[in-house]
């Protein structure tokens, strides 16, 4: 459904992405991971053309996103994004954050947008805080609203840019739970994250990105039992030490 073909991107003199290609199918959950600086965030921003790639093509349901005639705004309405630093609209209440896109981009009426927004907030378990401003919400709550904002647009695919990296440890669990629910309900997701527990629970395929190159790909089983490249092995070891992956793995698997 989403196809990336030979994506190249550079910032100033630095070549950040070097020939990335992969496909994403309906209902798939792709997890992209790797050391920092490997271009993961850049890749996501290429997909929804916030920072278009220098070379290569991106196809969404057959439409070439790089072609001159494509209406980028319409495309972005079909690709959702959840940001590492939430980026909620600070001047709007949670409800309005979710309904803004519906009203101004999709043309819903005030009532329709409100209904849909409340539904979506319910899915992320934030109905109680619909009338709160972002500044009155904790990080985890803000991120859940961010997810709702992307969900409400009913996109073909949602991109997650390290959604839990900026959260305090106690709050990560709630957000991951919401992401698990969404994944189970069939949403196509591309997630950049370090949360291996999440990957192990729902990823259809995992991709390891290092220095802008796609180093290894495979199912979670593959990565956690017998990864091929040395780099991947070292990386997974470090993650284990840092994040105590075991614990979270257990918690989430039990929470299923």
């Amino acid at each position: 459904m989403l196809e990336l073909n030979n994506i190249w991107k550079s910032y100033e003199d630095l070549q950040v992405l070097k020939g990335i290609s992969f496909k994403v199918f309906e209902r798939e959950v792709k997890v992209i991971f790797g050391p920092s600086g490997s271009g993961k965030s850049t890749l996501l921003r290429c997909i929804n053309m916030l920072n278009p790639p220098d070379k290569g093509e991106i196809f969404l349901r057959g439409k070439n996103l790089n072609a001159p005639e494509t209406n980028l705004n319409a495309i972005r309405a079909r690709i959702g994004m959840v940001f590492q630093h939430f980026n909620l609209f600070a001047h709007l209440k949670a409800l309005d954050n979710v309904s803004l896109g519906l009203r101004r981009v999709k043309g819903f009426s005030k009532e329709e947008a409100r209904t849909k927004a409340l539904e979506t907030l319910d899915r992320v378990k934030m109905t109680k805080w619909a009338d709160h401003y972002p500044a009155q919400l904790s990080g985890g709550q803000q991120q859940r609203v961010g997810i709702a904002r992307a969900l409400a647009m009913e996109p073909d695919v949602i991109l997650f840019d390290e959604p839990t990296s900026a959260l305090d440890p106690e709050l990560i669990g709630d957000v991951l739970q919401v992401m698990l629910d969404i994944a189970k309900s069939g949403t196509t997701m591309i997630v950049v994250t370090h949360e291996m527990g999440f990957a192990r629970a729902v990823a259809s395929e995992m991709i390891f990105l290092g220095e802008g190159i796609l180093i290894e790909r495979g199912t979670p089983q593959h990565f956690f039992t017998s990864p091929k490249s040395e780099r991947v092995k070292k990386f997974l070891e470090q993650l284990d030490i840092l994040y105590g992956g075991h614990d979270r793995l257990m918690k989430l698997s039990n929470g299923e």
């Binding site: 916030l50 705004n73 972005r76 630093h85 909620l88 803004l100």
Partner: protein, 252 residues
């Protein structure tokens, strides 16, 4: 000697107040100039700030150039330049004017709303204020942060939509403290137009000074007028402060 025999200051003060009708007409003219200049400055300044931030290489440089030039030259020089511009370009104007009368407490007060000099004055003040206001808006827009417009674009909004629905509502709220500064102090600069003949508050001082029958120490007149400005500016400042406290959004 520094200490001369001066007439009783209170008497002098009352004599000045006797000219309340002139003071009032000058005051209203000043408010009129101030209001229009502020509005022009607001919209033009906002436009310039947006152009500077989101305009792309060419337009943003043009906007920056305008702002730097206006801020780098004295208001007086700008006024003098613009004043003779129409005649240099060959536009001849007759002494047209638009005025209105009001009768208050037995005195007939005439206030000119528009004439050649007033128009030039308003335009100069507006163009000047726009450059300063643009700097405040720019600071506010910058403080909103890159992520907001990225988020707006990520849900499919166009750049303009993002600016209008996401950046501006936040920037305009953040700019209130510094904008109040400019708004409160703008009346001071309206004084400069007296030089091209506009009958605003300061000009009235000269009328009172040169009155054939009643002679008052010019200093007293100036001080009275200075006090009027002082009071007015304090009131505006306080008022904007209260407005700011009332419209706060948590976290902005």
């Amino acid at each position: 000697m520094i200490f001369q025999a001066r007439p009783n200051p209170i008497e002098e003060f009352l004599k000045v107040l006797g000219f309340w009708d002139h003071l009032l007409s000058g005051f209203i003219t000043m408010i009129w100039l101030y209001g229009l200049a502020l509005v022009i400055g607001f919209f033009l300044g906002l436009f310039l700030a947006i152009l500077r931030q989101y305009g792309g290489q060419i337009f943003s440089r043009v906007a920056t150039g305008y702002i730097e030039i206006i801020r780098g030259t004295p208001l007086l020089a700008q006024l003098l330049l613009l004043f003779y511009l129409p005649t240099s370009l060959g536009i001849v104007s007759t002494g047209w004017e638009l005025e209105f009368n009001l009768i208050l407490l037995g005195k007939d007060i005439t206030i000119t709303l528009f004439n050649q000099a007033i128009l030039i004055g308003i335009i100069t003040l507006g163009l000047n204020s726009a450059a300063y206001q643009a700097e405040y808006f720019r600071g506010a827009i910058l403080s909103v942060g890159e992520g907001q417009i990225a988020a707006a674009e990520s849900i499919g909004m166009s750049r303009l939509g993002g600016i209008y629905y996401v950046v501006l509502p936040q920037a305009l709220r953040r700019v209130i403290p510094s904008w109040s500064n400019e708004a409160a102090y703008l009346p001071k600069y309206t004084v400069v137009v007296y030089f091209i003949g506009v009958k605003e508050l300061f000009r009235e001082a000269f009328y009172i000074m040169t009155h054939p029958y009643i002679s008052i120490n010019p200093i007293t007149i100036y001080i009275v007028i200075a006090l009027i400005f002082l009071v007015m500016i304090s009131l505006i400042s306080k008022g904007l402060d209260i407005l700011h406290k009332r419209t706060g959004i948590p976290g902005l």
